[in-house]
Subunit: 156 residues, 2 copies
C-alpha cells in the first residue's frame, strides 16, 4: 500500500472540515422554530438530522482512535440552534485532535464501528462525510421549501 | 507525497462506483412524469439534476485525462427516464476506462476544470462525487414527498 497518495491524510481532514463548515452555515440559516418542527412527511426535522450527525462523527472517530467499540447512542439532546452550534464547534476541535492521533496505516485497519459496521476505517470515515453531505442536502430542500436560500454548495 | 495511502486509487473508484449505483437506483425509483415535473419551488426537477450530474462527471473526467479544457455544457437533453439510465450506464463504463488512464501522481496536478475551476485533480473529483451525493439526497426528499421510499442510503 506504499504509493503516491491520491489524497493525503491532511487533505482528507481539510476536505471534511470544509464540509463541516458548510453544514454549520446550513444549520445557522435555519429558523429556530422550523429547525425542530419542519419536515417532509416520513422524514425527520433538520434538527433531528443534525443530532444524528453529531452522534456519528466525533463519537465514531473517538471509537476508531481509541479502538473502543461503543454502541451508537443518539441522545437527540440538543434542542436549540445555539446548543447544536456550540457542540458542533466543540466537536470540530475534537475531530482535529483525534485526527492527529490517526496514522496513515490505520485507515486500512478494520474497525467494528458502533459494534455494528465492521469495515476498514477509511470506509467508516467516508461514510461519516457522505452521510453529512446527504442530510445537509435534505436541509437545503427544507430551506428552499421555507423560502430561504441555502449557502452556496461550493463554498467551504 | 510518497506515503502509506489513506485511500488507494482503486478504492476511490470503487467508492465512486458505489455512489453511481445508488444514484442509478434513485433515478429508477422516480415515476417518469414526476422526474421532469416535480420540484420544490426555487429548485430544479430531479430529471434536471440528473442531467447536471451526467454533464459533469464523465465530461469533466474526460477533460482531466486528456488535459483538454472544455467549457461546461449542460444540454439537458435526456428527457426520459430510459434515456437517462442508458447514458448513465454508458458513462459508468467510460468512467472506468478513463480512471485506468489516470496515474496516482496525476491527482495532485492542477487542472482548469471546464475552464473555470483551477484546482488539483483530486479536489475536482471529490467535487464530482460530493455534488452527486448532494443532488441525489434532494431526489430522496422529492421521493418522500411523493410518498415513495428511496433506496437505503448505505446500500451501494
Amino acid at each position: 500500500m506504499n504509493t503516491v497518495a491520491v489524497i493525503t491524510k491532511e487533505e482528507l481532514l481539510k476536505h471534511w472540515l470544509g464540509h463541516r463548515n458548510l453544514t454549520r452555515r446550513t444549520i445557522e440559516k435555519f429558523p429556530e422554530a422550523e429547525l425542530f418542527t419542519y419536515a417532509v412527511p416520513g422524514m425527520r426535522t433538520f434538527g433531528e438530522l443534525a443530532n444524528e450527525l453529531i452522534s456519528i462523527a466525533v463519537p465514531g472517530l473517538t471509537g476508531i482512535v481509541n479502538r473502543q467499540v461503543e454502541a451508537y447512542a443518539e441522545a437527540n439532546k440538543y434542542t436549540s440552534k445555539a446548543a447544536i452550534l456550540e457542540v458542533w464547534d466543540q466537536h470540530t476541535e475534537e475531530l482535529k485532535h483525534l485526527w492527529a492521533q490517526l496514522k496513515e496505516e490505520n485507515f486500512h485497519e478494520t474497525f467494528n464501528l458502533f459494534g455494528q459496521y465492521e469495515f476498514p476505517v477509511i470506509e467508516n470515515i467516508l461514510y461519516f462525510i457522505d452521510n453529512e453531505i446527504h442530510h445537509r442536502a435534505q436541509g437545503y430542500v427544507y430551506l428552499r421549501s421555507l423560502g430561504i436560500e441555502p449557502p452556496f454548495f461550493w463554498e467551504r
